[in-house]
């Protein structure tokens, strides 16, 4: 554990990313204290520029505080990112493990199934799913999970395929351990490192996907998300540039931080690859 942290720390980018991420999580956690009430409340006149009338980042077309929207939006974005990633991981890890461990016909079937999902352009598919199930936070999370699991399945399958023929697994099989026990206690812990790295990136792409859906008007209308803020600001961009700029910066920082942390995790878990990648950057 200490070794892991030492290797992680050596990547300065990852460290910066971690700091940013922690700050955003804190912002999300303390949003109700910093900006009490609902971000939907009309606080002032519409289209107030940043810095005036107590509006740090300006107000939008209905006079709502953009800063409050960003703070409260952080909670939604992080939550959506986390939940949909967990869902995608559940599907992907299960399918990948089954395919990689059992091999043969099962592997073939699962791989065809995965290929099928990867042939449909993922964003269009997500849009279609959300439209069918009418846009709510649940359908958004579901749609993101459905289009995000294939890469997980592939990675997990690859890991399981290589680990399956290792001695300690064969030993466990000979000892008569049940297949499920082998998978859960022997193989999976050793396959964790690529999954961990992947999940950081998946949270990032889930946040991007959710913001894109909200931007197109397909988000949950009861939740003020960053994508929604940008979408609402799009048509009045000439009148109020701040409505589009600041929420975008928030998304950028969060996704950047997640990517940096992901690379740090990768370095920490695969030190040999880290050296090859040109060291800490």
């Amino acid at each position: 554990m200490r070794e892991f942290w030492r290797r992680f720390r050596r990547n300065r980018g990852a460290l910066a990313g971690l700091v940013i991420l922690v700050l955003i999580i804190l912002l999300a956690a303390f949003a109700p204290l910093l900006y009490p009430g609902s971000p939907w409340e009309m606080a002032t006149a519409p289209f107030v520029p940043p810095g005036e009338e107590g509006m740090l980042l300006g107000s939008d077309s209905l006079g709502r505080d953009v800063a409050a929207g960003i703070a409260h939006g952080a909670r939604i974005s992080l939550m959506v990112g986390a939940v949909s990633t967990i869902a995608a991981l559940s599907i992907g890890v299960t399918l990948g493990a089954v395919a990689g461990y059992l091999g043969g016909v099962v592997d073939d079937a699962v791989m065809r199934f995965t290929e099928f999902f990867q042939t449909i352009p993922s964003f269009v598919f997500a849009v279609l799913l959300v439209a069918i199930f009418t846009p709510t936070i649940g359908s958004v999370v579901f749609a993101i999970a459905v289009v995000s699991w294939p890469p997980v399945a592939r990675v997990v399958r690859a890991e399981f395929l290589s680990l399956r023929s290792r001695e300690f697994v064969q030993a466990a099989e000979v000892l008569g351990k049940s297949r499920i026990a082998i998978v859960l206690t022997d193989i999976l812990p050793n396959a964790l490192s690529p999954i961990v790295v992947l999940s950081s990136l998946m949270v990032a792409s889930a946040i991007l996907l959710e913001s894109a859906l909200s931007f197109l008007g397909l988000g949950d209308p009861n939740l003020m998300t960053w994508g929604f803020l940008i979408g609402a600001g799009r048509s009045v961009i000439r009148l109020a540039w701040w409505m589009s700029v600041f929420p975008g910066l928030a998304i950028f920082l969060t996704v950047l931080a997640l990517n940096l942390v992901g690379e740090g995790l990768s370095d920490a878990l695969n030190p040999r690859l880290a050296r090859q990648r040109g060291g800490a950057t």
Partner: protein
Amino acid sequence: MSLSRRGFMAAAASAPVLMRASEALAQGIAPRRGGTLQMMLTPEPPVLQIGVNQQGPTLVAAPKMFQGLLTFSPALEPEPVLAKSWTISPDGREYVFALQEGVKWHDGQPFTAEDVVFSIMKFHMELAPRARAIFQLIETCEARDPLTVRMVLKQPFQPFLLMFDATAAAMVPKHLFDGRDYRTAPAVQRPVGTGPFRFVEWQRGNFIRLDRNEEYWKPGQPYLDSIIYRIIPDSQSRRLALESGQVLLSQTNDIEPFDIPALRQRPNLEVHTAGWEYFSPLSWIELNHRVKPLDDARVRRAMSMAIDRNFIVNRLWFGVGKPATNPVASTTRFHDPSARLPAFNVAEANRILDAAGYPRNAQGVRFTLKHMALPYGEIWTRLSEYLRQAMRNIGINFEMESTDAGSWARRVGNWEYETTINFVYQFGDPTLGVERTYVSTNIQRVTFTNTGGYANPQVDALFLRARTAAAAAERQAAFSEVQKLLIEEVPQIWLMELSFPTIHDRRVRNVITTGLGVHKSFDDVFIAG
């Protein structure tokens, strides 16, 4: 039964051509012949054949090619178009129209009374719900001679003439439609009408081109050489096209409301909000009375009182439009100005709800209602967001549901909603456009009917009396009473009398001259030098 001339009420036939020209002359400008008027059309319609399609853009472009028997002034007085004059019998059941002479279809065939009979009794009866509902009342429709049409109604129907504008029942050529499937006839793709402009070219996604009909029946008109409708899907592109002069006129949904103030500042542009008197679109919060507690009139009254309609008009619509005061718009006939909604009063609304037995819980919420925004543009989303805040002030939680055009129409049609927003045309007379929302006989599973399920026998009786009475005075009495009753009951929460601004270059004249605004033939429109 023969009806002598003396028994007829003669209708005054004014001469609109001379009137318009003299108006122009009064301004010191003689109409100038020539020029191409570039406009926009949003969104691109599927077809231009009126009747086959009744969506907004078709109603804007088609009247340049197709005409009705009449049109209507801003005060909704009938004016002659294809009908030169008309008479109505004293009992209000017989209408005789004398048609203009020398009118030809764009393909050269003469326009006759047979075309009128066909258009009304077959074409529109088959295709158009609005026309069908009224033309069912016609007992006899016959061509007395090639220039005279006689219609006898089963019972008197005072608003009958309002159905003869081009947008309600345009005249279509019998020889191109009779005996065929109206929707797939070749004429649908190459429209043939009697109007001042003829169809020339349609490049999908790009433009529609109409050229002057050289054989137009009004001498000297149309003044314009041609009309081009540009298809520009993006609202910012449209605004730019208008600002830069690439198009000279925008109408209906072309320009977003928040762009209006900037365009008003432009010295070369004029912004008109008139021209919607016939349609009089009225927006409201549509309530499903099958959902408790929306069946309680006190709740509805309180909700209505908690809405600041002035804020909606000024902040959301940037001053375009008027707050609604009445289920009948102020520009529709028989509007009773003495019947008004109570003023905006949040405290009073809260008192009503407290007294009605809807206490607030620990979070301050009395009850929750689902709300579907109208999926036809951002401004409606903003409206729903404002309404959510307004309802919070009286302890009602609006849970928003997102929909698109497909699901909205289906859910409203199938009564699968709690509240939503809607806006509906009134068509000049409450019997035509208002009654359908409130009478229990029109509860159907489709939009634009009484989908809310409101049923009040008193309201039904009043609307029936207003519908069947032959004299205007009697109808006014019934309408006044029903307006007062509906304001008590608030079956829908009326919000705004909408107006879709027409913005055009100052050089373009005679654009808004009737109660139909841009939905007219443009035969008297010209571009000054």
